[in-house]
Symmetry: C2
């Protein structure tokens, strides 16, 4: 019994939301045209009417995911009230790490997309640039820290520090995905703090 019901672009959004619902519940592999259609309460054909292909749907879902999830050391204003550059950096990292367990589903999806990127150059490109953006978001903080006492942080570049900071958060993301029950924000942060507390001479 065909017929139109919501002629506007509500349908696009509805289908996209359905795709996310399916993905969040059963992961990317379960996002098939039929599954999304069923979730949205429409026929399978309609998915191809609004999105040229399933690939197209997945790409748009990734865009949505990147826009609404990986916030990355956002709103630096929220950190400006902290004077010490080192503490600022730590807090920025902590904030992102705290998000991970909350957004576990989305983090999982993100890794799914990375795997999917193997066969889909467009997706690979999007993910890489998202990660690059994430890493670069730490650079101002890193530079402030390095500049605050060049003698002390000799040999460390802002790029390198930002890279390690991003790597730390990403490592936590992996743990969250793999073993959510055992992941502990406080322990991870304490471990990070312990790393930077080790004296120089002994590890040079």
């Amino acid at each position: 019994m065909p017929g139109r019901r919501a002629p506007e672009e509500e349908r696009r959004e509805a289908i996209l939301r359905a795709a996310f619902a399916v993905a969040a519940r059963e992961r990317l592999g379960a996002v098939t045209a039929r599954a999304v259609a069923a979730e949205a309460g429409v026929s399978a054909g309609l998915v191809f009417f609004y999105f040229e292909s399933v690939d197209g749907l997945l790409v748009e879902l990734l865009d949505w995911l990147l826009a609404h999830t990986i916030v990355a050391a956002d709103s630096p204003d929220r950190l400006s009230h902290i004077a010490d550059p080192g503490a600022r950096m730590m807090l920025a990292i902590r904030r992102d790490v705290e998000w991970l367990p909350v957004q576990r589903e989305r983090v999982e999806l993100f890794f799914d997309y990375w795997v999917l990127g193997t066969r889909h150059p467009g997706i690979r490109r999007k993910i890489r640039s998202a990660l690059t953006r994430y890493r670069d978001a730490f650079q101002p903080l890193a530079r402030a820290l390095v500049d605050s006492d060049p003698e002390r942080y000799g040999g460390m570049t802002a790029e390198g520090l930002a890279s390690v900071a991003a790597g730390f958060v990403e490592g936590c993301a992996l743990q969250v995905v793999m073993d959510p029950a055992q992941f502990d924000v406080e322990r991870s942060m304490a471990t990070l703090a312990a790393l930077v507390r080790a004296p120089a001479s002994s590890l040079a």
Copy 2:
């Protein structure tokens, strides 16, 4: 034209090698019964004769991968000529990090398995224990370091330090996989060295 040619277990290994070849070239998603069979130059049915299912093949491939790849602070004898515990630790880390770009294909595969493990309990278990083993491999070095000057490393446990070391290497692994072109061993190591050189107060 059926018939036996290599009645021993050569065939098992040949098929496993073929599976690895396919996986290394086109990643885990491309490891289908037919693709592996074609790579090995046998029929598809034979894959199921030696391995009950594709899942079984994948699990054995993971075993092979773990046994032949993640060497993890191996051969401590190679480090014994270095007296200072801190330098030993750093060299162990450096050695593993240097391996990452070289073995990029395998590291990628490992992360593919990681993602797959999210849905596959058996694989998840194997990966977890492999990572635990990896972390524990750093413990002797960490303990030696802590014991060398208890006053200095007050509050830091060998477990915590080993965890930090493993986490750092894993973070580098992630970068290698996600954005190989931008990863730089020297920069990462320099940053690590500088980090442990930073005084506690500034990053607490």
